[in-house]
Amino acid sequence: MDHQQAALAIRYVHVAAMATVFGGAFLVTWIAWRGPADRIADIAIRYEQLFWGAAGVLVMTGVGNLGALGPALPAPGSAWGATFLTKLLVVALLVAISLPRSLAVIDLAGGARPARRALRTIYGVTTGALAVVVALALQLAHG
């Protein structure tokens, strides 16, 4: 596999992982509003397992995408650099809010009472943060 093929494969996996976490968060938010109350905790637990796998893959392939640019990586002082730093900070914020969300879901799954209100809020916030990351990624790729 040459350098270009490897870079394309890494970019494909990066986009697929982002589609998984963003689509999944949107779906869990919708289920928290409209879905069966007795299933929401199980679905949220499955999403959390998927989320952290995808998060690791996203960071790994994100670094791979930067490596593919090599010395051609735009400088931090450029418009691209400012957008990239903004994206990194939003991703850091997303990761920071995701750990308490995952721990809360694990805690809630062990209890008997439904927690739809809390789940609606935390998955709504997650979906919003992911939408911002996607918008910034689009700007970096096509802006």
């Binding site: 350098h3 490897a6 870079a7 890494i10 637990i45 959390e48 397992q49 952290w52 796998g53 998060a55 690791g56 960071v59 790994m60 670094v63 791979g64 930067l66 490596g67 593919a68 640019l69 090599g70 010395p71 051609a72 990586l73 400088a75 931090p76 650099g81 990239f84 730093l85 990194l88 900070l89 991703v91 850091a92 990761v95 920071a96 995701s98 750990l99 308490p100 969300r101 995952s102 721990l103 809360a104 694990i106 805690d107 809630l108 062990g110 209890g111 009472r113 439904p114 927690a115 739809r116 209100r117 809390a118 789940l119 935390i122």
Partner: protein, 161 residues
């Protein structure tokens, strides 16, 4: 592997990755540094970091009740984080040297002595482990502080449900 180990271990790995990017990119040398690594080497390094961090996080929280009643004390949690953070630093330093040595061997000219390269790798691994021990211990304490803050927030979220 428990869901808690998976979430905490991957959280630690992603925090380390993002923190390194935030530290190195503003300096302007990130592209050159990453460009010097092959794709496979870069991926292998991240997988090594992820694997050692998951292993050490699992060992650090084994038998500790972090959620629900009868929770572990903060002091005991920090002691485990210090110990297993240091172990993680050593394991990753060894993996780093091993992967870079394997990469160097793969691209080396036939005239280069394998014995010399292995001796250099052994030397780097020994000193790298000492650095890894210190950096890992500090990182363990910082990450344990983030974990405890996240646990407090998680309990508030769960009780608000």
């Amino acid at each position: 592997m428990s869901g808690l180990t998976w979430a905490l271990g991957t959280f630690h790995t992603t925090v380390i990755g993002i923190a390194l990017l935030l530290l190195v990119y503003p300096g302007g040398s990130l592209g050159t540094t990453l460009g010097a690594l092959s794709t496979i080497t870069g991926l292998a390094l991240f997988v090594a970091l992820w694997t050692t961090t998951l292993f050490c996080t699992g060992r650090a929280i084994r038998g500790v009740r972090l959620l629900g009643g009868d929770r572990a004390s903060t002091g005991a949690f920090y002691r485990r984080a210090l110990r297993w953070g240091a172990v993680n630093g050593v394991l990753f330093a060894i993996a780093l040297v091993a992967i870079l040595a394997a990469n160097a061997l793969a691209v080396a000219e036939p005239s280069v002595g394998i014995g010399t390269m292995l001796a250099i790798a052994g030397f780097q691994g020994t000193f790298g482990s000492l650095f890894g021990l210190a950096i890992g211990a500090v990182a363990g304490l910082v990450l344990a502080t983030l974990d405890l803050a996240a646990l407090r927030l998680a309990r508030s979220l769960a009780s608000a449900g």
